[in-house]
Structure formats: structure tokens, C-alpha cells
Amino acid sequence: MAAPLELSCWGGGWGLPSVHSESLVVMAYAKFSGAPLKVSVVDNTWRGSRGDVPILTTEDNIVSQPAKILNFLRKQKYNADYELSAKQGADTLAYIALLEEKLLPAVLHTFWVESDNYFTVTKPWFASRIPFPLSLILPGRMSKGALNRIILTRGEPPLYHLREVEAQIYRDAKECLNLLSNRLGTSQFFFGDSPSTLDAYVFGFLAPLYKVRFPKVQLQEHLKQLSNLCRFCDDILNSYFRLSVGGISPAGQEMVDANLQKLTQLVNKESNLIEKMDDNLRQSPQLPPRKLPTLKLTPAEEESNSLQRLSP
């Protein structure tokens, strides 16, 4: 546990520490289990093999694939599941299978196969983090890999029209999201009060779907209706991945502004005084904020001004 653990993974955007589900699963698990990871983001100066990312490197080991990385971390005593019962451990396995079979195909499709999404968002994003000329080849390869993975889980391709498969996988994904929402209910995490492996997986699969801005958004829209799942993602982002001020993405900044606006309105409703101050500021933008009129006036004028203040 003294040996440094370095995780190479795809980078973040849209308020996420990573836009890549598998990378996100590992990052979340590391946070939950307290594993001290040094995260190095894959950019176009990175020299390793990109097909296997996320990759965990220690002094004597190189581990790839989220399940194997998590196993490795557990063996190093970074275990987010030690409070789970045997039954909860079994449930974890079952729900992960559900995620991989029912949700993942549609997530892959949204990112890598749906043309509008792939060409306007996914491909440019990944290509900018891959050096030329690999940037011309690798995204396409990742896209084909995603399509193959989808077809593999769905069975015999020649018998199906691709559109039928697409309808099926989105239907399955929506059902899976509903099931997850039902299972989570009003709890903060899936098992008790502290996050475990299952929370890492759900977060990893859901967060990119929730946050990345796509042109074709049917699955995203469905997810946004399941408010407890959205709350689940936001809670984890805020508690474990709070970005520094410099690190707020444009989308994050917009949200901050919108929240600020809402807060301002709320305060205005509660207090006429603040509203009046706003008014004063707007009317005379060049001048420094005026002190309250009552402070400098004679008693007679003070009275008439306080009457003025009371009017809406």
C-alpha cells in the first residue's frame, strides 16, 4: 500500500471527472475505498496503448479492465464492500450483470453508434486527445468495437434489421433505468449509508449519460425523469469529485449561474429591501452602491422615504 498507484484514464468534461464509463467506475471506486490514486489523463502526448484504458499501474503490475482493477484494489485492502453482507455481495454481482446486459448496449449506442452524437460530440472529443495520425483511426475503431459489443449481446445480427435491435436495446435500457430507480428509492446509496462497488458501477454508467450534451437524447431524457438517479449522480459528484473553481466546465458554470439566479430570486421574494437595493443599483450603475437613504436624511425626509420604501 506504500507503492504509488497510477491510473491512466480518459479525461473529463461537462462537469465530470471522466466522460468514459469504465474510467469513471474505477475513479469512483477509488474515492469510495480511499485508494490513493494518481490520476493521469490520456491526452495526445500520452504514449501508452489507448485501447485498454483505464489502466492501473503500480511498481510491478499493470492491470486493465474495471473488474480486474477493482479486484486488485480490494486485494490491496482498499475495499468499499467490507460492510456488505453475503447477500448484498451477491446482489451486487446480479445488478452489475443487469447493467452490462441491459443498459450498456444503449449507452454505447448513444455515444458511439448514433451518427449525430458520434460525429458531433464523441468523435471530436476523443480525436482531440489522440495524437495524429492515430486520431484519424482510433475513434472509428472504438465505434466499430461498440457496435460489435452491442450486436454480440443481442444475438444473431443477420436475422435482425439494425433498427429493430436499436428499438430493443433502448427499451431494455429504459426498463433497466426504471428498475434501478425503484431499487434505489429514497436511499442515498444502494446499500446503506456508504457507497460500495455497485454505486461505483451505477455512477460510472449513468453519469456520462446524464451530463454529456448530445443532439440525440432519448435515453438521456428518460434518465432525467428519474430524479432519484440524477440526485444520486449529483451527490457523488459534489461529495467526491468537487472540482476546483478553475476546473468548472462551461456547462458547470452555466449551472452555477442558473442556481445563483434562482437563489437571488428567492432572496428577493423574502425581502423587499434587497429588491429595492437591486433597483437602485440598476438605475445608477456607474455610482458605488448607495447607502440606505435613512442614514443621511433629516427626520422629516426620512419619514417620507420610508413610506416610499414600503410601496411595492
Partner: protein, 225 residues
């Protein structure tokens, strides 16, 4: 099945009660039927027995070609044909029979999750073993062990996965485990993995006796002590 076709089938299904001559078609036993198909067929049979719906099993060499979707097993009910456990569960539900109605939303989610686990791990194992892919046997056996461990823990000392009443999950698990335990393979390791879990063995025996032998299929029913 496309969305529209499924809705259509459900409507027609609801109209008619379950006939006496419902038939299940599968491939010939012995050499022809694949491990995975055998498991699927047993799962459907177990499910229908649990629902108390009579079904006659017919083995045909060309069962795959008879099936409109190419998948086996399929059931022929009235003038409708439905294949695979998932759609068959839906079809049966449209006719007013369900094993999982008594479950709450969380339990239903759990049930579906465990069914995926079984599909993911046991089905994969069966497929690999059928085609004798030696290279990955070690990994596959590990997955099977993990899956059985999870199932064993989930089942605990209960008679069925959701305590007293069997559901489609019990049918699916039975189909796969029973197939693994009873099919002669060159490699015994798969069935040995399952045999490590005594409650799973007891589970299979229980379903076999209650839903298959007791229904007059076998000559005599042997109750375990």
C-alpha cells in the same frame, strides 16, 4: 419481436384461455440438442409447470426451422407461436398468469438482475463448453463458481428465491443448473462447481420432484428425507 407485434400478440393472447393442447417444441434429445438450448427448454417447462399450465413437449429435429424467430424452444398455443423465456413469460402474463405479481418493485428489480446474472454467466459457460474453447475454460469456470456462489447466498435456506413461491427466476436457475448437473460432458469440472453448493443441489431436486416427477411424468416420485 418488434414493439408493435408484441403489443398485438399480447392483445390476442389475452382474448383466449390456455388450451389443453399447448405444445413446446425443442430439438431432439441426446446428440442434437445443445447444452444451452436444453437449459432454455427446461426453464420454460419448469415455468409453465409452476404456473400450472399444461404443456406437451415435442422433440423435432427441425425445431429451429419451425420456429419463426429461429430460436428454440418455442411454444405453440392456440394459433400463436412464442419463443424464448422472456417473451413466453410476457405471453403467459397476458393470459392472466404470473408468478411475480406478488413481488414489490424492489423484489422485481432483484429478480430481473439475478436473471441477467444467470444469463450472463451460466449461459456463457454452457456455450463455451459446447464448443470446447479450451483457452478460456479457466476463466469460465471461475465465472460459474462466482455465479453459483451468488445464487447460493441469495437462496440461503429458503425453498425458492423469493421464499415460498417460485418465480421465473427459479425456473431459469433450475433449467441451467439441472442441465449442467445431468448432461454428460467430457469435462466434469462444470458440474463439480455446482455440486459444491448443497442448497443449490437441494433446490434442483426439489423442483424436479415437485414439478416434474409429481406430475406423472416419471414412474414414481422419490421424496427425499
Amino acid at each position: 419481436m418488434s414493439l408493435v407485434a408484441e403489443a398485438f400478440v399480447s392483445q390476442i393472447a389475452a382474448a383466449e384461455p390456455w388450451p389443453e393442447n399447448a405444445t413446446l417444441y425443442q430439438q431432439l434429445k441426446g446428440e442434437q440438442i445443445l447444452l444451452s438450448d436444453n437449459a432454455a427448454s427446461l426453464a420454460v417447462q419448469a415455468f409453465l409447470q409452476m404456473c400450472n399450465l399444461p404443456i406437451k413437449v415435442v422433440c423435432r429435429a427441425n425445431a429451429e426451422y419451425m420456429s419463426p424467430s429461429g430460436k428454440v424452444p418455442f411454444i405453440h398455443v392456440g394459433n400463436q407461436v412464442v419463443s424464448e423465456l422472456g417473451p413466453i413469460v410476457q405471453f403467459v402474463k397476458a393470459k392472466g398468469h404470473s408468478l411475480s405479481d406478488g413481488l414489490d418493485e424492489v423484489q422485481k428489480a432483484e429478480m430481473k438482475a439475478y436473471m441477467e446474472l444467470v444469463n450472463n454467466m451460466l449461459l456463457t459457460a454452457e456455450l463455451y463448453l459446447q464448443w470446447c474453447d479450451e483457452a478460456t475454460v479457466g476463466e469460465v469456470l471461475e465465472d460459474v463458481d462466482q455465479c453459483c456462489q451468488a445464487l447460493s447466498q441469495r437462496l440461503g435456506t429458503q425453498p425458492y428465491f423469493f421464499n415460498k413461491q417460485p418465480t421465473e427466476l427459479d425456473a431459469l436457475v433450475f433449467g441451467h443448473l439441472y442441465t449442467i448437473l445431468t448432461t454428460q460432458l467430457t469435462n466434469d469440472e462444470l458440474s463439480e462447481k455446482v455440486k459444491n453448493y448443497s442448497n443449490l443441489l437441494a433446490f434442483c431436486r426439489r423442483i424436479e420432484q415437485h414439478y416434474f416427477e409429481d406430475r406423472g411424468k416419471g414412474s414414481s416420485s422419490i421424496r427425499s428425507s
